[in-house]
Subunit: 255 residues, 2 copies
């Protein structure tokens, strides 16, 4: 499959490298910024451009790995009308292509990508959706060439999945931040909490969340909850969050 | 060091096995319930009892791995007045021993223990505190025999650390639960989110929480936040939590 990569962010970078490694042909990289385009193109050893008019029209698949706002206007460019066009966004409907393309879809990897940390794409779940069966078959084949876990879902399911991802990643990371702040305020380095964080994530790989829940709220230990609230009483925001999460856990387990 | 283990929960089990493996002598196991006492004692191949009066008085160290409530009354038993007595609780002051013992302290591992999952104690941070220097030296030596990360902190620091642990483990696990519920409501199996959970924990081992934060709230993407709120509007509790965490992240990054 001959593929054009539109966008050069972390997702575009990791995805295009994985696709190339799996034997797919990356034909060209596009970015508005010539330096970014050239930088990713160099990693892939392929041509690049920052001009929409110079995007190669002879590829089979155009992957739009763009921010939601840019995506909305970019899909309106009339490039390669017979090819398949997909975006990679969690919260954008497949219908964004409706008035502009014939064959289109979504190619959504559920993962958090960073510049400095390599990822093993074979473990990343891929969620695909397409406007017609032929496109779906091609996306499915492409997805299984790089990942062991490929799911076909619609745009509403994907939006819910994206929210689940916000809870499991964005919000969890913010709790790490708060844990770090609280430890640091007691002159304890964040490093001391990292093994607990790792074990918490490892436990959930083999236990259901209900089985792995522990702590004072779970065991209805009101004395400990009171001690914690007393210590947090000078920080309204943290106390509010502590109370809300504790109440949700108390309710789940005490009925 | 000759050690008596009082209590037979997950912490007592993992800790006593680690201490024994490191060459320390577990002399006896005590539990109120004879079956539980016998079960842990069998793993250690040592004697056990469910009678306080039969607890061996000739050990060097008594480790009280009990729930906070039971601990409070148990420390009042006058066993082995010259030995060292420690508890393993995050939110209980060292002073609980004050009126009843001479040499005492705290031996607190920051980790979540489960019955079925073995843990490598060498990576678990241990937090120690003692009533006098001689006791502190002995606890320090014991702690370093099983862990690479030993910290000396006081009871107030430990209480804060326990709160940090509640955020990093108990609350994070509850977010996993919510993510699981949301995914399941869209007919997507929780398994599909597990790689994201793992990567989130792995990233934080090498990046600071501020560096690893991603998502719509971080990048001030109000359109996506609005889509998510719209989908969550029928669940007050989840929506409230979504808004609160998003607002905290928005505020952190938009100033």
């Amino acid at each position: 499959m001959r593929i054009i990569i539109i966008g050069v962010g972390n997702l575009a970078t990791h995805l295009s490298l994985a696709l190339q490694s799996a034997g797919n042909e990356i034909v060209q990289v596009y970015s508005r910024t010539i330096d970014s385009a050239s930088s990713l193109a160099a990693k892939l050893d392929v041509p690049f451009t920052n001009q929409v008019s110079e995007i190669n029209p002879n590829a089979d698949l155009y992957i739009y790995a763009l921010s939601d706002d840019v995506l909305e206007s970019f899909v309106q460019n009339s490039i390669a009308p017979d090819a398949i066009h997909v975006h990679t966004a969690g919260s954008v409907s497949i219908d964004i292509f409706k008035n502009y393309k014939e064959n289109y879809g979504v190619f959504y990897p559920l993962q958090t990508f960073s510049k400095i940390k390599p990822v093993d794409f074979s473990n990343i779940p891929l969620f695909i959706e397409a406007s017609n069966d032929a496109a779906l078959q091609k996306l499915s084949k492409l997805a299984t060439s790089i990942s062991k876990n490929v799911y076909q879902i619609n745009s509403e399911q994907r939006l819910k999945l994206h929210i689940a991802g916000v809870f499991a990643n964005n919000f969890v990371n913010h709790l790490y931040k708060l844990a770090s702040d609280i430890a640091t305020s007691a002159d304890i380095p964040f490093d001391a909490i990292k093994p607990l964080i790792m074990e918490t994530a490892e436990k959930i790989q083999i236990l259901r969340p209900e089985e792995s829940q522990t702590g004072p709220a779970k065991r209805n230990d009101l004395k400990v909850l009171e001690k914690h609230r007393e210590l947090l009483k000078n920080d309204d925001e943290i106390l509010k969050l502590y109370n809300q999460l504790s109440d949700m856990i108390l309710k789940s387990y005490q009925g």
